[in-house]
């Protein structure tokens, strides 16, 4: 588990801290990014095993980040979980059609987040 690296791209530092705390406690290494562009740089340099992406971020949104990742052959199959406050059915459909492998809406349960990450990693 300690070899597994997860990136959380989220502009709200409090939510980021919460996710990092929960995932590190599960034994994973966690990297952090405050916007989509920073996340893209980290993904290209550190090659994480899974990415958790917020939708609404400055500089580059989560949807734009996912599109960039899916267009690149190196990151085309990277597991992505979208964590967003946008909870309408159309938003969730948009998230999946943009390339997210899973979608969790805020407010969220940290335990559910952990289980979904675990399931995504097991499938990849």
């Amino acid at each position: 588990m300690a070899d597994t690296t997860i990136l959380i791209a989220e502009d709200d530092p409090d939510i980021r801290d919460l996710v990092v705390f929960r995932l590190e406690r599960a034994g994973w290494q966690v990297l952090e990014a405050g916007d989509g562009e920073q996340a893209l740089e980290i993904i290209r340099s550190k090659k994480p095993d899974l990415v958790i992406v917020d939708w609404m971020m400055p500089v580059m949104s989560g949807i734009e980040l996912i599109s960039e990742l899916r267009e690149d052959p190196e990151t085309g199959s990277l597991p992505i979980l979208m964590l967003s406050a946008r909870a309408q059915e159309t938003d969730i459909v948009h998230g999946f059609t943009s390339g997210a492998n899973d979608y969790l809406t805020k407010p969220f349960s940290p335990q559910e987040l952990f289980l979904r990450v675990q399931a995504l990693l097991a499938r990849s």
Binding site: F21, R25, P107, F108, P110, E112
Partner: protein
């Protein structure tokens, strides 16, 4: 005279220095408070995160600034978490004295503080219906809005009636009131249905409008009855609600409303018939588009075109509606 002018200049200079000193001091105090607040947040954050994870932690909150930082963090996590995480946030909020502090703050003399505390109470802890309902009558609109929002977040069914009254009387923002009732869910729709039957006129109109957002087809017969109300505000809200709910069976009841004596009720009826896809109404809408006053005629023309009517010799409203439909197609 010269001496007096010199004395006045000196006095003004001293006043300037005092004012500048006060501004600088104020800034320094603000910066110091901000630093203390940030330090407090960093101190309590690991404890709060452990508590959210379910660890048995004790949070020895000592100072007011620590209590404020804890309250802000917990309220933020309360907003963003569900399940066990949310339960742990609530427990910590109770144990650490945050809830008690917010209850005290909700009675502060400063309105911004009351609003902030009432807002946070919606994200934390036990049901505060009684307190929040009192704050719905606060003298400050921000506090009333925060109270409506918090009643919704806490799903207080006791709050439906006072929120509907505040909504109808316009003492809270309409969007806030509607969202609060949406958060409360199905019990809100049933309470609104009762208010529609027997409330003051403004509240009845508000209840009808809100039923359009929260109600289901099961409320359509009640709304159809409201279309016969003596007050046009209630009639127009009922017609719009029926169009919004999408109760196709109500179309036959809406059709006679095209002859309502009040133009904006006729406009709403025309728009609702278009939204309901009522093709039986095309002829009546076409006649209305050619002969009624400006607003109802326009609404009728738009609906007639939307419903796919054919017009061999369209008048100005129908021509405009056809052009608009081509542009937006």
């Amino acid at each position: 005279m010269t001496t007096q002018l010199i004395a006045l200049s000196i006095a003004l200079g001293v006043v300037n220095i005092v004012i500048a000193g006060a501004v600088v001091l104020n800034r320094l105090v603000a910066r110091y408070s901000d630093r203390r607040y940030r330090r407090a947040v960093e101190q309590v954050r690991p404890i709060v995160l452990s508590a959210i994870a379910g660890d048995a932690v004790s949070l020895g909150v000592r100072s007011r600034i620590e209590l404020l930082a804890t309250g802000d963090l917990l309220a933020k996590y309360g907003r963003n978490l569900s399940g066990d995480g949310r339960v742990h946030v609530n427990e910590l909020a109770e144990r650490s004295g945050v809830i008690d502090a917010l209850v005290r703050g909700s009675q502060s003399r400063r309105s911004w503080k009351r609003a902030a505390c009432v807002y946070r109470l919606g994200d934390l802890g036990r049901n505060q219906a009684e307190l929040l309902i009192v704050r719905l009558s606060d003298s400050d609109r921000r506090v009333r809005n925060a109270a409506a929002r918090s009643l919704g977040k806490q799903r207080c069914t006791e709050g439906v009636r006072p929120i509907a009254y505040a909504f109808g009387r316009g003492t809270i923002a309409r969007a806030v009131g509607a969202q609060a009732l949406i958060d409360i869910g199905p019990p809100a729709a049933d309470a609104l249905a009762r208010l529609l039957s027997s409330g003051p006129v403004l509240v009845q109109a508000g209840a009808a409008e809100l039923l359009g957002r929260l109600g289901t087809v099961s409320h359509s017969s009640l709304l159809a009855e409201a279309m016969d109300h003596h007050d046009p505000e209630v009639r127009v809200a009922a017609v719009r609600a029926l169009g919004r709910i999408g109760a196709r069976s109500a179309a036959a009841r809406i059709l006679p409303v095209l002859g309502d004596p009040v133009p904006f009720v006729r406009s709403a009826a025309a728009t609702a018939l278009g939204a309901l896809g009522s093709r039986d109404a095309i002829d009546a809408l076409t006649v209305m588009a050619e002969s009624d006053e400006y607003l109802p005629a326009r609404a009728a023309a738009e609906s007639a075109v939307l419903l796919g009517g054919r017009f061999p010799d369209p008048g100005p409203h129908l021509r405009e509606a056809i052009r608009m439909s081509e542009v937006t197609a």
